[in-house]
């Protein structure tokens, strides 16, 4: 079924919760039946014991009469009691040693075998309102003169009590099972609805709606925790997808122009040039342009690599990185008559990607040299600050107006509208990406005069 509407019955019956509820119910029922059986058995034992007590008390009373008034008196009392018990709850029979009936409300001695201790159990037909059979438990006594006495009591009432108790227990059990099933059904339906709600959300996301999120019930239970984790995961995925989309859009948008230039250059050469030397010249220019294109492409890829995470980080000495960068760029600066200064505190450590960090630093130094006029200075500093470690590149060039500082961190931004200086406009964007990757903050400040770009790394924990 499609988890859309309410949970349908068949799938509900298959649900884990419901099956769990059913097995609990089964275990509960078995123990309840055992318990009720025990209650029922002990009740009937108690009732039977009570009946026998009554019979014995009756017999004690009669034996006193016999002792005081002899057989005649006993017969009188038995006859009287038998007559007065109109409902025949108690049965009496007094017979002579020869077996002749003397008194009592039984017509003859029962044929049933005696049980232990002189107890006997038999059925009688009751007369009176509505004749019916009833079971009687009785005890027989043989008097010293050979007369025999039988005193018994009908089990009719006891049976009624017993069956009333059993009925009550049975209903109770039935109700328990019913409540168990209904409760299990309701609980599992409730849980299933939450599972289906999650499943629906997931399907919406699968269908392309990346903004869909799971709703929490607010109780903070395990479902809420699951929903929360899921939502966090989706946030992260959405961010990643968004960043991939941005890169793709930028690549598509910004590589189109140079590709088009490349294409038209070849086009024009094919149409008009016939001189092999001129064609060769065009080919060489085209190759140089293709190389530029590749460099731009690689810079974009490096940016997206920097944005993809902190894989491959190692401890780095920022002073060493700065020294290498200065050493690498020093001849270039000298050629432009720019002084390079290195002021690095040794012995510091940051965790990072060696090559990307160096690329970022190189981009900053490269920019600084590019925009600093002859006679100026480019300074690279590494220092411990209150917040952590700062790597800064400062120049004495024209600087960047405060209003444009945010903008230059974007991709393909070049303040030089004529684009006369070489570069692809990705330098600072890459630095920004590397800074984000290293949890460092990138700040563009005023060097008075010039630009001071600083990367601040949080102090290692």
């Amino acid at each position: 079924m499609r988890p859309g509407s309410r949970p349908a019955l068949p799938s509900l019956l298959r649900s884990t919760t419901f099956r769990l509820a059913l097995s609990y119910l089964a275990i509960f029922t078995v123990s309840a039946v055992a318990l009720l059986g025990l209650v029922s058995w002990s009740t009937s034992m108690f009732i039977e014991w009570q009946v026998q007590e009554t019979v014995e008390a009756e017999a004690v009373g009669l034996s006193e009469q016999y002792r005081e008034r002899g057989i005649r008196g006993l017969a009188e009392v038995v006859g009287e009691r038998a007559r007065s018990d109109t409902e025949r709850r108690t049965v009496y029979l007094l017979v002579s040693p020869e077996g002749e009936r003397i008194a009592g409300n039984l017509f003859g001695w029962p044929a049933e075998e005696l049980e232990v201790d002189g107890w006997i159990r038999f059925s009688i037909e009751r007369v009176g309102e509505g004749r019916f059979a009833t079971e009687v438990t009785a005890r027989n006594y043989t008097l010293p003169d050979g007369h025999k006495l039988l005193v018994g009591r009908s089990l009719h009432d006891a049976k009624r009590v017993k069956s009333a108790i059993n009925r009550a227990l049975g209903w109770g059990l039935a109700l328990t099972i019913l409540l168990g099933i209904v409760g299990g059904y309701l609980t599992s339906r409730h849980l299933l609805q939450r599972v289906y709600a999650m499943s629906r959300t997931a399907r919406r996301i699968l269908g392309g709606d990346m903004t869909s999120r799971m709703t929490a019930s607010g109780t903070g239970d395990e479902f809420d925790q699951l929903a929360e984790t899921f939502n966090e995961m989706m946030d992260q995925i959405e961010r990643l997808v968004e960043s991939i989309r941005t890169v793709t859009d930028n690549v598509a948008h910004d590589l189109r122009t140079p590709l088009n230039r490349l294409r038209s250059r070849i086009d024009v050469a094919l149409l008009s040039e016939t001189d092999p030397a001129a064609l060769r010249q065009t080919l060489e220019e085209t190759l140089a342009e293709a190389d530029n294109l590749l460099a731009t492409f690689n810079a974009l890829l490096t940016i997206s690599h920097a944005e993809s995470g902190s894989e491959g980080f190692e401890p780095l000495d920022p002073a060493q990185l700065a020294a290498d960068a200065v050493e690498l760029y020093e001849p270039l600066a000298e050629e432009k008559e720019i002084a390079m200064r290195l002021d690095a505190t040794p012995g510091l450590s940051i965790s990072g990607d060696r090559h990307l960090m160096f690329q970022a630093l190189a981009n900053l130094v490269d920019n600084a040299i590019k925009y600093t006029p002859p006679g100026g200075e480019v300074a690279v500093t590494v220092a411990r600050t209150a917040a952590g470690i700062e790597i800064a590149v400062a120049d004495t060039g024209p600087g960047i107006p405060a209003a444009s500082r945010e903008a230059v961190l974007g991709r393909f931004v070049r303040l030089d509208a004529t684009r006369s200086t070489p570069g692809n406009g990705l330098g600072l964007a890459l630095v920004a990406a590397v800074a984000r990757q290293h949890a460092a903050s990138l700040a563009l400040g005023d060097n008075q005069p010039g630009l001071r770009v600083s990367l601040s790394f949080p102090a290692p924990a």
Partner: protein, 225 residues
């Protein structure tokens, strides 16, 4: 040199093979991993160029297999994956050099040359000599025509790399990776500036000039012909 090329992109492979043949090499081409491994284990090559992503058997598995078989032929790994981590994986699997696509043919050719020569060269040299240029690796001194040349540490390493690859083309990227040991893309002609400094010291007062610029590729240390 005899070169095995394992690359599934037919067009790129044909272009590469053509260029390498024009440079005087013999090239065998395998278009999938299984054929590649078969050729790599059944024939002897001077250098193998292996693409990382191949149908059948991937490039790193091929390298691991041939290395496990005791085959030490230098391998250049080609890949569209350029992260530092991927590079490390490629070299760990037994690759000797790693190149990220897209690349310039000149770069590929120079690296293949470097790998092919390296296999033959002895490892424990203490002196390097090209024409009248001499380098003492233990004393860390350089002489040309008997005259001492004073070099900065980095200039020494730059010259050492050029001398070790004397006669071969060495690209700017190779110099950055091997002399400065950073994989990065300088936006300016940095290496050219360093080379011109080195030239000042090594070539200016001597004849013939030894550091040659190879147009479109890089540099080469040899006597000008």
């Amino acid at each position: 040199m005899r070169i095995l090329l394992i690359e599934d992109d037919q067009e790129a492979a044909a272009y590469m093979a053509k260029g390498l043949k024009e440079a005087g090499h013999t090239v065998d081409h395998a278009a999938n991993g299984t054929d590649g491994l078969f050729l790599a284990t059944s024939e002897r090559y001077d250098v193998m160029v292996v693409d990382r992503m191949l149908p059948g058997l991937d490039g790193l598995s091929i390298i691991q297999s041939i290395r496990a078989g005791g085959n030490a032929t230098p391998v250049l790994v080609l890949s569209a994956l350029g992260k530092v981590d991927d590079r490390v994986k490629g070299l760990k699997a037994g690759g000797d050099d790693y190149m990220v696509k897209p690349y310039a043919f000149a770069e590929l050719s120079a690296r293949i040359e470097a790998l092919g020569r390296r296999a033959g060269g002895g490892q424990a040299e203490t002196r390097l000599k090209v024409e009248d240029l001499e380098m003492d690796l233990l004393a860390r001194t350089v002489q040309r025509a008997g005259k001492a040349i004073d070099l900065q540490p980095r200039e020494f390493r730059l010259l050492e790399y050029l001398m070790r690859h004397a006669g071969q083309v060495v690209t700017r990227t190779m110099l950055l990776e091997n002399v400065w040991e950073y994989h990065f893309d300088p936006q300016t002609n940095l290496i050219d500036v360093h080379i011109s400094r080195l030239r000042q010291k090594v070539d200016k007062d001597f004849d013939p000039p030894l550091i040659q610029t190879v147009r479109g590729s890089g540099y080469s240390l040899r006597a000008a012909r």
